[in-house]
Amino acid sequence: MSAEEDKPGWTSLAMGAVLVTPGSAVRNKTGTWRLKRPILDPKKCTNCLICWIYCPEPAIVRGAETVEFNYDYCKGCGICAVECPLKAVSMTEET
């Protein structure tokens, strides 16, 4: 989360918390909430996309050979690590 002072104040925000332009959620980088980071072992990944289906965000990005993680939005819930049948995802402490 960026510093509070970088954000607009009450005199410039639209009244009633209306979001006047669509797509603003993209700017909210929820990856900052993450305590554990998913790490992929590309040798184990078969690109089966089970993690892609289960990821609630979705923060799994499809790739040609394997999936990748979008750490801007991955909250570190670990569902991908639990659901991966090949144990290709491991959760490591964020530092």
């Binding site: 509070e4 009450w10 009244m15 009633g16």
Partner: protein, 397 residues
């Protein structure tokens, strides 16, 4: 009333007068649920709908919670919206009251004031609105059916003004006003139509221009939106004054934040809301004939509270008795007396104040009791120490 304004006098009770005002304001949506003593308002309005006298979308809902929720949605869609409730109905709306003000949706709601359960009671006091006092709505109080009609018409203009954009309650005392027949001077439809104009929403739900209403705001944004609401409330008095002045041109009746009666040269006064002001003025006038310098301050605009005007009037008075028709359990004073005490503190005025709680659950407040309050205020004004800062009047021991 000025001579230039010709108006038809129609026999209506307070509820009918409010329904008639909503009809003349040409509201787009009414979502409401019946509850005594408000029921007549929505009954009359549904008659207008059934008779084809209005093209309003009347939404029959299963509760007050749904009624106000539908009003919030309709207001977001850009409609002019009206509803009405009382007592338990207002209590059931409680969470949606904050949605309406927080989302900055203009809605006009008549609150026909009635006591809250338990024990169950259908008669008048102000515990319903006082229980939702801090909900962020503008709160106006009528003294009679005429004022209920007049304030309802003005409420649309006030709430829909872009610098305000807030919901407004028009409070009228249950039965005393809602069910009592009066001659109400009504303004021509054409003139009302010109006065209320058409609502131009600041933002509205529109598929062609998508926006998000009611998003989650976390600790990094929530405070800013509450601060905006304070600013909107602060903008309201100037709008209310401007609307009142414009309303006078079509009605001949002048509104303001407060109405003062014989206060300027008085030693003591009563401050009150709603229908009790009539009794208080009658008693005050009688006491004047006996040489007693007493007056009455009636508050029309309870939120935003008219701090400056109250302070100005208080500064010339030695003592005021503040009447609350609701109990604020465990608090030092009743709700309105707390506001008066805050006004004193903020402005450094030394006027003595005391609080009288009376008229709960429709208990009649007799002229003799009002006289007793004036006598007490005069005694305090003449130097007697305040022995009872808060007292109940008309309650059996």
């Amino acid at each position: 009333m000025t001579k230039a304004v010709s108006q038809q006098i129609v026999g209506m009770n307070g509820d009918e007068a409010v329904a008639f005002a909503a009809k003349q304001a040409n509201v787009d949506v009414v979502a409401a649920y019946p509850i005594t003593p408000q029921t007549i308002i929505v009954e009359r309005f549904s008659d207008y709908v059934a008779n084809g006298e209005v093209d309003t979308q009347f939404v029959c809902v299963e509760s007050e919670h749904s009624a106000l929720s539908a009003c919030v949605g309709s207001s977001l869609a850009g409609s002019r919206v009206f509803t009405a409730t009382s007592s338990q109905g207002l209590a059931l709306m409680h969470e949606a009251l904050y949605l309406a003000s927080g989302l900055r949706t203009p809605i006009v709601m008549a609150v026909v004031n009635r006591a809250l359960s338990a024990p169950i009671n259908i008669h008048n006091d102000h515990s319903d609105m006082m229980g939702s006092r801090d909900c962020g709505w503008i709160q106006l109080y009528a003294e009679n059916a005429q004022e209920a009609y007049d304030l309802t018409l003005q409420a649309f203009r006030i709430g829909e003004d872009h610098s305000v954009s807030l919901p407004v309650t028009v409070n009228l005392d249950g039965f005393t006003i809602s069910h009592a027949m009066e001659g109400v001077a009504v303004i021509d439809d054409d003139q009302v139509c010109k006065f209320v104009g058409k609502r131009e929403p600041v933002y509205k739900l529109d598929p062609a221009k998508p926006m998000t209403f009611g998003p989650l705001t976390l600790p990094d944004y929530y405070s800013e939106f509450k601060r905006q609401q304070v600013d909107a409330m602060n903008s309201a008095p100037a709008v209310i004054r401007a609307v009142a002045n414009e309303f006078k041109k079509i009605s001949g009746r002048q509104y303001s934040d407060i109405s003062a009666f014989n206060v300027e040269d008085a030693d003591a006064a009563i401050i009150c809301l709603g229908s009790i002001a009539g009794t208080a003025r009658t008693v005050a006038a009688r006491l004047r004939q006996k040489g007693k310098r007493v007056g009455v301050i009636k508050i029309w605009q309870y939120r935003p509270f008219p701090t400056i005007e109250i302070a100005r009037l208080l500064s010339n008075l030695k003592c005021v008795g503040v009447i609350d028709r609701a109990v604020s359990f465990g608090a030092p004073y009743g709700a309105m007396c707390s506001d008066i005490a805050s006004t004193k503190e903020l402005t450094g005025i030394k006027t003595k104040i005391f609080n009288v709680i009376c008229g709960l659950g429709g208990r009649d407040v007799k002229p003799t009791e009002i006289e007793g309050i004036f006598e007490k205020a005069l005694a305090y004004a003449n130097g007697e120490p305040i022995d009872e800062p808060v007292s109940f009047v008309g309650v059996r021991a």
